[in-house]
């Protein structure tokens, strides 16, 4: 059974400040297997986040269906954890209280929630930082808190929207390795959105390339047959990685240029 199945999903928005409409995603069919790590890459502004919001149930598709673990999705996707690109932590809660939030919403006993949150903070390398407020943590540490906050609920599907794009390259590779390590422990299904092809290849089982927007749709899928466990920094130097990178980049290049031209025209007009 597939974890997530898109069947001809189309998302159309009313255009801002005028008549007409804008189609972000068009006729997208995509299947993410259980336990599979799938990265979705595409040029900027191509509707990658829209696809993720649809999977999360935060956005209803204009047409088409989304099936989660075989069931048609209605309302919020309760099987999914979502890690946002921007800061999603509650600034008025300490790191620990942010991690316990999901358990609190589910009515888990406070002492029990605390115990499990401390355990998770330790697993993401933040033991002893539980009483810090988000503004007292570095960007990388905040991402770790967000990761623990999501994983403590043990979701079967992880939705990640460029979660590490705001981090510097060293912190980013560290986080990627830690993500892989946590993931390999119980192999959840992951949809990982990124604009960074290297990140996509080094993390995933499969890379899906999207066309430039509007009316984004997948234009190519590539199985990544690199051996696991991987070290994201080292694997980038292997010949197979470079070969895959070349092939995927070739199929993307045209779309990236198209997306770039569109952005430029939009700025010019």
């Amino acid at each position: 059974m597939a974890a997530v199945e898109f069947d001809k999903v189309t998302c159309t928005f009313a255009a801002r400040g005028g008549s007409g409409s804008y189609t972000a995603v068009k006729d997208t069919s995509l299947t993410i297997g259980e336990g599979e790590f799938v990265s979705v890459v595409g040029p900027t502004g191509c509707g990658k986040s829209t696809l993720l919001n649809v999977t999360a149930g935060l956005l209803r598709p204009s047409s088409g269906t989304v099936r989660v673990l075989g069931e048609p999705l209605a309302g919020i996707n309760r099987h999914a954890g979502y890690m946002f690109q921007a800061e999603g932590l509650m600034p008025w809660r300490t790191a620990l209280a942010n991690v316990t939030a999901g358990l609190e919403f589910r009515g888990v006993d406070t002492a029990e929630a605390r115990r499990r949150a401390e355990d998770w903070l330790e697993r993401v390398g933040l033991a002893g930082f539980g009483d810090r407020y988000p503004h007292q943590l570095s960007g990388g540490m905040r991402k770790r808190v967000a990761l623990a906050q999501m994983l403590i609920l043990d979701p079967q599907i992880l939705l990640m929207d460029e979660p590490f794009s705001a981090l510097d390259i060293q912190t980013r590779q560290l986080m990627e390795n830690e993500l892989l390590e946590l993931w390999s422990a119980d192999r959840k299904s992951v949809i990982f959105i990124t604009h960074d092809l290297e990140e996509a290849i080094s993390l995933s089982d499969r890379v899906v390339v999207l066309s430039a927007g509007p009316a984004t749709h997948p234009i190519g899928e590539f199985a990544i047959d690199l051996p696991r466990p991987r070290d994201v920094a080292e694997i980038r130097l292997t010949p197979r990685f470079i070969e895959l990178h070349d092939r995927i980049w070739h199929s993307m290049k045209e779309e990236v240029l198209k997306g770039y031209a569109q952005t430029r025209n939009r700025v010019a007009s």
């Binding site: 999360a56 935060l58 919020i76 309760r78 999914a80 954890g81 979502y82 946002f84 921007a86 800061e87 999603g88 932590l89 509650m90 600034p91 008025w92 809660r93 300490t94 939030a101 999901g102 609190e104 919403f105 589910r106 407020y133 988000p134 503004h135 967000a146 906050q149 999501m150 609920l153």
Partner: protein, 267 residues
């Protein structure tokens, strides 16, 4: 550095009092404004006599009952006004229909000079503390209301979506996201709203009461006792400073989660 600053500040205060005294004490300097040497003291009072009045108030204990009443009114006006502002702010912030409906009324009520309501409150609530509390509430309410409303509107959509994905239902969103966000805005308006509660209390007393510092000032003014009027003003100012200091302490406690500029300040 800080101690030096304080010393200069105190010196300035003393200098002001000395200049004031020299200019107003009858016969000390030749008249240059009025023919009558007592005239300056009549209009501007004499600091030494003013301080004598203050000293008598505190040493004789006559002032405490008045200070207490003013404090009581201030605190009540602040608490009631804040709670009302918080409730209405949350409600209108979360309900676009209600906010669209009430918008012109809120604007009109806020634009109205609230002091004119004092006589009406006097008729409704009598000369006791409640007419002053009511006046203070009308002043505090709008400050808190606008802040809370803004706080609700500006909750980060990412934080909201994140909470939804973590499983929060509507009620939990209100309690764990909207309320903390709104109260943080409420606390940031703490100084202004406490000040407004104080203004409401004093103005209310001044316009008609039997107790309170505002009442003392009003009585002295009726007897052309300018020294006592200034003494009352001095006590009020000192009182306001103490209130502000207390608020700053509370604020520091409640807003630990807020990033402050001072943390990155260079030493």
């Amino acid at each position: 550095m800080k101690r030096y600053l304080r010393a200069v500040q105190v010196a300035m205060l003393v200098a002001i009092f000395v200049v004031w005294q020299v200019l107003t004490q009858p016969g000390l300097v030749p008249n240059f404004m009025w023919d009558n040497p007592d005239r300056a003291a009549f209009f501007f009072g004499e600091p030494v006599k003013m301080l004598q009045v203050v000293w008598e108030w505190f040493s004789g204990g006559a002032i405490y009952v008045h200070l207490w009443v003013t404090l009581e009114e201030t605190v009540l006006a602040f608490v009631i006004g804040s709670l009302l502002g918080l409730a209405v702010g949350l409600w209108l912030g979360l309900s676009p229909t209600a906010s669209a409906l009430f918008d012109p009324y809120i604007t009109a009520l806020n634009a109205m000079p609230r002091v004119v309501l004092a006589p009406i409150f006097m008729v409704w609530f009598g000369l006791g503390i409640w007419s002053k509390v009511a006046l203070g509430v009308t002043l505090v309410f709008f400050i808190v209301f606008f802040n809370v409303y803004q706080g609700v509107k500006e909750v980060s959509p990412v934080v909201l979506n994140n909470s939804v994905m973590l499983g929060a239902n509507r009620r939990q969103l209100l309690r764990f996201v909207y309320l903390p966000s709104a109260t943080s805005w409420l606390f940031s308006s703490l100084h202004t709203s406490v000040g407004m509660a104080f203004v409401g209390a004093v103005v209310g007393e001044y316009l008609g009461s039997a107790r309170g510092v505002g009442y003392l000032i009003q009585q002295a003014e009726g007897a052309f006792d300018i020294n006592t009027v200034f003494a009352g003003i001095l006590v009020l100012t000192a009182f306001a400073l103490v209130l502000d200091f207390a608020v700053a302490r509370v604020e520091r406690k409640l807003l630990v989660w807020r990033p402050s500029q001072s943390e990155t300040e260079q030493l």
